[in-house]
Subunit: 504 residues, 2 copies
C-alpha cells in the first residue's frame, strides 16, 4: 500500500572527474533507478549544498504526490525513512480534529482537537457567512481562524510527540462545503442560497505553505458532491467503504443538517437536508453541547429521573444524547403520549408553568413541552430522510447489512433510545453501527493509500443526488413522522413490544 | 504556434436550478470543451466570486504550462485575450535585460536592461561566489540582488508600457550556470571547482511568487549542459537554430569565458574555456566597459589615430571593440609586428616609459605593450577553441554555412578587425554573423512556442562536451596562436592579402 507521500533512502556516489552530473540529476537518476519520476522544488534545490556532501550522499528524499506526479519536497541527511509523517484533519464547524500518522507503519500517533477559532464569529455557519459576505478582509479573518485552529492542533500534537509540521509531508482534510470554502478563502454564501452552485468543489492538492500550513508538501481537500454533500461525507464513505461492498449499506450523518447515502459497489443514492439545531442541544431551553455539566444519560426508575452528568458534576443542562434518552424514557413510562404531549397525571415531576407543561429532569432544570415539540420536528425530518430514500430507491430495511451513523451523534447516542423515539429505523441493533469520526478516518485512509484517489472519483461518479426539499410528499411523510416513534407504530415492532411489556 | 501560456475566453452559462455545477467545474468544463485540461490554483479559486457573476460568466482565464499540465493562474472579467503578456530575461553577470512580449501577436513590446545589483559584490562572478560561500544569509543577499535587478527591468518596462508583472503569466530566463545558481539561492562555488558538478542544472518551471517575481505563472530557467555551458548557451542555440539545419554551423559566445558549439541537426559538439577579462576591457590599463566615454572605433590614417567615442564625449578609456580595432590598425600599419611587439620607429605616437613601449591612442590615454601581450593571450585562447574544435570534429571551415558570434562582442566588434587580429577565422564575411543577444532571443522564442521545450531536451541529448583544459596539445596550439593573426599566416589569406596591398 502506497500513500500520497513517500520517503526514499538513496545511497549515491558523489561527483568525480568521470561523473560530474549535478546534485539534482544524481538524485533524480537515483529515484529513476527505483522507478520513480520526480520533480524538484526550489526549496530542495536550495538545501542540496552542503547537505549532500555532509551526508556523504546517503540521504532521504520526501516525495509528495500532487495528483499527477511526485514532487520532491524535502531532503534530509541519512536514512530517515522511519520518520515519515502526515496529518489527517477533520474540519468541523465546531471542532477541528487532527491526527498525526506515521505513514511508514500506518500507525496513528496522536489526535488533538480544538474548538474552532471561528466560533466567536458565530456558533452556526450561516452567521459566519453573513459576517464576511462581500468583505474580503473579513473573509480572510475567517480563513485565518480555520488555519489557526488547525495550527493549534498541530502545536498540541508537537508538544506531545515532538513531531511538528516541518517534519510532515502531506495533510488530508475533510470538511463540509462551507468549511472548505472558508479554509480556501472563498465566499460561502453560495452554499446556502439558490441555486446552490458553490465556488469550487474539487480543490485537490494545494501547496501547504501557500495556505499557511508549514508542511513540506500539499494540503488535499476532499472534494464535495454538492453544496450539502461535502468532503466530510465523501471522506466518511471512504472510511466505511460502502462503495466496495456487495451488500447494501447506509451512511447517515446527522447534526444540524442530515446527510444520507444508501448504496453498495454498484450504486450510491444520496440526499441531504436541514434537521434543525435540536439534535445538538440547540433550540432546547436548557440544551447545551456535550461538555462538562451536561446530562448525557437518563433513566426513569420507580418514578424518579436518574441522570448521568459529564464530568460527574452538578447538572447545568442537557446535551443531544441526554435529550434522546429523556424522551425515550418519558415515552416508555407513559409520561408523554405518542404525539409527545406531557401526561401530567403520570408524575409529580410534570408541572405547569405559564400555561406550559414541563418536567424537572434534574434539580432546577426543566424540559418543556415546546422543547419536546421542537425536538420531535427535528427527529421527524431526520427519520423522514431515511424513510424517503428507502421508498425512492425501492430498497427495504431488511436488505441493509449495516446502518452507519457518523459523527458525535452516532458515537454518543444510545441506539435503543434512538430507535424508541423513531430517530433510527427499527432494525437489529447489531446492524446499527456507530461510524465514529468517519470523516477523520477517511482522511487518514487517503494519506496512507493513494488508490483512494481513484475511489473518490468513482464515488463522485456514482453518487446520485436526491433533493429532499424538492419533493412534495416529503412534507406529508414528515408530518406522519411527528409522533413517537411514528404515527404508524407497526413500523417499530420492537418499540411496540417494549410498550406492551411495560404495560404488563 | 502555441506558447507556454494561453489566454482563453469563455462564455459560460451561469448556475441554475437545473445546472448547479460549481464555478470551478463550469470553467474546467468550458476549457475541456476546447480540448484543454487544467488545474485551478488557490488564487483563482479565491477570485471566482464575485468576478464570475459580475462578468456575467464572460471571462478570460490565464493558463500557464508547468512542463506537464496547464495551470489556471488567473481569471479576468470579459475578453482580455489581446492583453496576453510574458517576459524573456537574459541574466548576465553584468547586465540583466528583460523583454516584454505580447504573446498573442508575438510582438516584442519593450526591452529594458539594468546593471546587475550584484556588481557591488564583485565585478566578476568568482568574487561574488567567495563573498557568500558557506553563508546562507549572504547567499540570500546575492539572490535578492538578481531578483531586484529583474524587478528593476520590469518596473522600467511598466513605466513605458503600462504593463506590469501582475498582468504577465510566464517568464523565461536564460543565464550562465553560476547566475542561475545565484537566482535560485544555490551555492555556486561548484561551478568553478573540480569536479565541476553543479547543484541543479534543470530547474524547470518554478512558481514566480515563490521566487519573488509577482507574475501569475512560472519562471522557467533554461537548463545547462554543464558548469560552463549554461542555459544562456542553450537559449542561444535555440535562437540561431543550429540544431534544426542540415548545414553545419558554429555558435560562439565569447567574453571572459568562451563557449563554442559546432553542429547541425545531427550532431552538436561543444566546448568551453576561460578566455580572460581582456575582451571586455578588463586587464587593460585604460580598459573600460562599452559605455559613455569609451573609445569603440579606431582607424589609423596618415599616421594619426582617429577614435570614435561613445556618447561623442572626450575619451576616458577603451572598450573591447575599440581594442580590437586598435590592434588591427596597429598591425596593418606595421606599428606592431606579427608577435604584437611595438615598432617604435614606425610612429612618434609610440613612446617608451619605464622600460615599456606604449602608444597614445587618444589624448593622454595609452595602450601598453603589457596590454597587448595580455590581449593576444586572450585572443589566442579564444581562437584556439575554434581551431581545436574544428580539428577534433574533422570539420573544415569551408563546410560551415554560418559562424554566429553571440553577445555584445559579436554585436559591437568589427568583423574585419576581428579577422585581422586572428580572433575570428578567416572566412567569407557574410558567413560571419552577429547573433546579437541570442540568449535573450531564445528565451523569447520559448515563451512563444511550447515546442521549444522538446527542442531543448533534444539539444541536451545531442550535445557532446569536450573539455579543453584536459587536452595537452591545446596548450601547444594556443602558443602558436599567440601572434597576429597567427604564426601560420597561410591560415589567414585575406589578412595576408591586405598586408601585401598595404606594402605596395
Amino acid at each position: 500500500m502506497e500513500g500520497i507521500s513517500r520517503k526514499i533512502y538513496l545511497e549515491l556516489s558523489g561527483p568525480s572527474e568521470e561523473d560530474s552530473r549535478s546534485s539534482q540529476q544524481r538524485i533524480l537518476d537515483g529515484l529513476e533507478g527505483m522507478g520513480i519520476e520526480g520533480r524538484m522544488t526550489l526549496r530542495v534545490m536550495g538545501k542540496l549544498y552542503p547537505l549532500c556532501e555532509e551526508a556523504q550522499w546517503k540521504l532521504t528524499v520526501s516525495l509528495a504526490w500532487d495528483g499527477i506526479q511526485w514532487i520532491l519536497t524535502d531532503i534530509e541527511p541519512g536514512d530517515t525513512r522511519t520518520a515519515h509523517y502526515g496529518y489527517a484533519v477533520d474540519i468541523g464547524s465546531t471542532t477541528v480534529v487532527a491526527r498525526l500518522w506515521n505513514c511508514e507503519t500506518g500507525e496513528c500517533l496522536w489526535e488533538a482537537g480544538n474548538y474552532s477559532r471561528q466560533i466567536p464569529y458565530g456558533t452556526d455557519i450561516l452567521t459566519r457567512i453573513f459576517y464576511c459576505k462581500d468583505d474580503p478582509q473579513k473573509r480572510k479573518e475567517l480563513k485565518d481562524a480555520v488555519i489557526d485552529t488547525i495550527l493549534d492542533d498541530l502545536k498540541e500534537i508537537e508538544e506531545k510527540t515532538g513531531i511538528g509540521p516541518e517534519q510532515c509531508i502531506q495533510m488530508v482534510t475533510a470538511g463540509n462545503t462551507a468549511m472548505i470554502h472558508f479554509l480556501l478563502d472563498m465566499d460561502a454564501f453560495c452554499v446556502f442560497s439558490t441555486p446552490y452552485a458553490v465556488r469550487a468543489d474539487r480543490p485537490g492538492f494545494l501547496p501547504g505553505r501557500e495556505l499557511g500550513i508549514p508542511i513540506s508538501g500539499f494540503v488535499y481537500c476532499y472534494p464535495g458532491k454538492s453544496n450539502y454533500l461535502g468532503g466530510d461525507i465523501l471522506s466518511g464513505l471512504v472510511a466505511v467503504e460502502i462503495h466496495k461492498r456487495e451488500e447494501i449499506q447506509v451512511f447517515f450523518d446527522i447534526g444540524t443538517n442530515g446527510e444520507l447515502v444508501i448504496g453498495n459497489r454498484d450504486f450510491l443514492i444520496c440526499g441531504a437536508g436541514a434537521a434543525g439545531p435540536a439534535l445538538e442541544g440547540g433550540s432546547v431551553r436548557t440544551g447545551m453541547r456535550a461538555c462538562e455539566g451536561a446530562v448525557d444519560r437518563v433513566k426513569i426508575r420507580e418514578g424518579k429521573i436518574l441522570c448521568h452528568v459529564i464530568g460527574e458534576k452538578e447538572a447545568k443542562g442537557i446535551c443531544g444524547s441526554g435529550i434522546i434518552e429523556l424522551i425515550a424514557e418519558l415515552f416508555l413510562n407513559g409520561w408523554i403520549n405518542i404525539l409527545g404531549k406531557f401526561q401530567p397525571e403520570q408524575s409529580d415531576l410534570i408541572t405547569e408553568q405559564e400555561g406550559s407543561f414541563r418536567v424537572e429532569y434534574a434539580h432546577g432544570l426543566y424540559f418543556w413541552q415546546e422543547d419536546l415539540d421542537e425536538f420531535i420536528k427535528t427527529k421527524a425530518a431526520a427519520s423522514t430522510m431515511v424513510e424517503y430514500m428507502f421508498r425512492e430507491s425501492g430498497i427495504s430495511l431488511k436488505e441493509v447489512s449495516g446502518f452507519y451513523v457518523a459523527g458525535a451523534f452516532g458515537k454518543h447516542v444510545d441506539k435503543e433510545a434512538a430507535v424508541t423515539i423513531g430517530m433510527y429505523p427499527d432494525m437489529e441493533r447489531e446492524r446499527l453501527i456507530s461510524a465514529g469520526n468517519a470523516s477523520l478516518d477517511g482522511a487518514g485512509k487517503l494519506l496512507l493509500d493513494r488508490q483512494v484517489l481513484a475511489e473518490i472519483d468513482e464515488i463522485l461518479e456514482k453518487m446520485v443526488y436526491i433533493q429532499f426539499g424538492a419533493v412534495e410528499d416529503f412534507l406529508h411523510m414528515m408530518v406522519a413522522a411527528q409522533a413517537i416513534p411514528h404515527t404508524d407504530l407497526e413500523r417499530y415492532p420492537s418499540v411496540k413490544k417494549k410498550l406492551e411489556e411495560r404495560k404488563k
